[in-house]
């Protein structure tokens, strides 16, 4: 008899899980349930369509429902699963029961909603669904003032997009500097300047206290620093794992609120896997579970879950989280931890800093690249980094996360080989400069100590 795999969720993890499951075992009957009308698009591109850097929303679609059907998947669009019965091996959708042999939960996230007066008004927007974003984009044509709330990177990207479109933007966040949950102040300072250069009014240390209405629609945002008039407000607080179904089914949740999985993406329930924003995975440095990672993490986890549900034996590693994004025309990024998080956790570290250039210094377009490396005292093993600059930040963060995961030290980085080609790389690699500086400081410290 044909085995049936059900996948709940049509985001990055769900599409990866379903296609890989079918590829690993073509005899499986794989069914995907999604509450939305569309599948296989990039929600991360939405701020850039609003900012008119990407011409149209259609460009964000990577594939079509028909293509998945052609690949042999049973696609159930706009179908909400309301219940999972693990004993009977069924799910309920539209009052119908659907049986399964194996289940993969990719239910994603929901946005944290502010607990303030007026939080249900018209004109408040959350970035998630592309159809809603398309409608919102039409509204933006008549919007003059917007308030963006919340200090994670989506808020920064949305603010930049609005400013590029000629909308007056106030960006508010409780933190003491931009992206304070992610980046250190020395790194975030340049990102804030870049956002302000676009015309965004960045108001840090500002608490959201409520929304004022006119005819049922938001007309202003109340903050600890006063009232900010607006036509729309965009709320970009934290992503929370959408675990309602899993929790009701008795599947174990962890200390972050996400579903607990092992390195095979197996949940606590037999024959049930999970992947993407709904799960928690360990940080490679501390082995503490974390959640709310990127689309590329969700996709990789989905692949592992799908392959294993199809009978293969694949594993996923603890994460070292390379990250990066644009703030205005500037790039910041990093991996693992920065100084603020290391201080918060009490992890000892030494810092190595350096500034280099992205191309030969005489080549037009050469931009400064600032590198800060965090290393374990003694062994000088790399445990984190934060970078900012004009170009090449993303590639450096990916590289550092990889070598950090493999145990590289400041000694390794100080003597790394690098490409010297005037249009794409300078004689001295900025990472190498930072590591050399760090080693020199260590030698000085050792001299003083002896």
């Amino acid at each position: 008899m044909t085995e049936r795999v059900l996948v709940i969720g049509g985001g990055g993890a769900g599409t990866a899980a379903s296609t890989i499951a079918k590829r690993v075992n073509p005899d499986l009957q794989v069914t995907v349930f999604t509450e939305f009308e569309d599948i296989a698009y990039s929600p991360c591109g939405i701020p850039y369509v609003h900012g008119r850097e990407i011409p149209q929303f259609e460009d964000l679609f990577l594939s079509t429902v028909e293509r998945y059907v052609e690949e042999g998947l049973d696609m159930r669009m706009e179908t909400v699963i309301t219940d999972i019965d693990l004993d009977r091996r069924t799910v309920t959708a539209r009052n119908m029961h659907e049986g399964f042999d194996k289940l993969i939960l990719c239910t994603g996230f929901v946005w944290e909603q502010p607990d303030v007066p007026g939080a249900n008004l018209e004109g408040l927007h959350y970035v998630k669904n592309i159809r809603r974003a398309m409608e919102f984009d039409k509204e933006l044509d008549s919007v003059k003032k917007a308030v963006v709330i919340g200090g994670m990177w989506l808020g920064v990207e949305m603010s930049g997009g609005f400013a590029r479109r000629g909308i007056e933007v106030d960006f508010i966040d409780e933190g003491p500097w931009l992206l304070s949950e992610l980046a250190d102040p020395d790194v975030a300072e340049a990102a804030q300047e870049a956002l302000e250069k676009l015309g965004v009014r960045v108001r840090m240390g500002t608490r959201l206290e409520g929304f004022e209405e006119a005819d049922g629609r938001v007309r202003a945002v109340n903050t600890s620093e006063g009232e900010l008039p607006c036509d729309v407000a965009v709320i970009c607080l934290h992503k929370l794992p959408n675990t309602a179904l899993a929790e009701a089914a008795g599947i174990k949740l962890g200390t972050t609120g996400g579903i607990v999985v092992d390195d095979h993406m197996r949940t606590s329930a037999d024959g049930v896997w999970a992947a993407g924003d709904v799960i928690e995975v360990p940080h490679g440095l501390s082995m503490l579970p974390i959640r709310g990672l990127t689309g590329s993490h969700a996709y990789s986890q989905g692949r592992v879950a799908g392959a294993n549900a199809a009978g293969d034996d694949r594993s996923y590693d603890p994460v070292w989280i390379p990250w990066g994004f644009m703030s205005g025309d500037y790039t910041i990024g990093g991996f693992s931890i920065g100084e603020t998080l290391a201080d918060a956790m009490g992890i000892p570290y030494v810092v190595a800093r350096g500034v280099g250039v992205s191309r030969a210094r005489y080549f037009p377009g050469a931009a400064k690249t600032h590198v800060k490396l965090l290393a374990e005292p003694g062994s000088l093993r790399l445990i984190g980094a934060q970078l900012h600059g004009g170009e090449g930040i993303k590639e450096r963060c990916d590289f550092l996360a990889f070598v950090g995961k493999r145990g590289a030290t400041l000694h390794d980085l100080a003597w790394m080989e690098n490409i010297y080609s005037p249009p794409i790389g300078a004689l001295f690699e900025p990472i190498q400069i930072a590591a050399q500086n760090g080693l020199a400081e260590q030698r000085e410290r050792e001299k003083v100590a002896t």
């Binding site: 500002t206 600890s224 949740l253 972050t256 592992v304 392959a307 201080d343 009490g346 145990g407």
Partner: protein, 106 residues
């Protein structure tokens, strides 16, 4: 979610929040020009004036062991499967990009 699990989740949320707040204060002192005063929460006196100073007195290796013993670190994951400094090696038979195989293919 059991009441105990809920409490563990709240404990983690609260402790992380106040530890981060304290670390941000330290950073503010180091970078006064690049930072501003955060919107501080109401209350939280225990966390700010008892928990954070106590946590900071404990060395990291002790905290690490304690978190492990209290079940706060992930289980079901092979810790240290690649020891630090071990040279990189390609994962066995990861041909279709679905993640490394942990056992040889059938």
């Amino acid at each position: 979610m059991s009441a105990a699990a809920k409490r563990q989740q709240q404990l983690r949320e609260r402790s992380e929040y106040y530890l981060r707040l304290a670390a941000m204060e330290d950073q503010r002192r180091r970078h006064p020009g690049a930072t501003t005063r955060p919107a501080l929460p109401r209350g939280g006196l225990f966390w700010r004036f008892v928990f954070v100073p106590l946590y900071r007195r404990v060395p990291w290796h002790v905290k690490e062991r304690a978190m492990h013993a209290l079940g706060m670190t992930a289980s079901g994951w092979p810790e240290g499967r690649r020891s630090f400094g071990e040279p990189w090696r390609p994962p066995p038979a990861a041909g279709d990009g679905a993640g490394p195989r942990t056992t040889p293919p059938p």
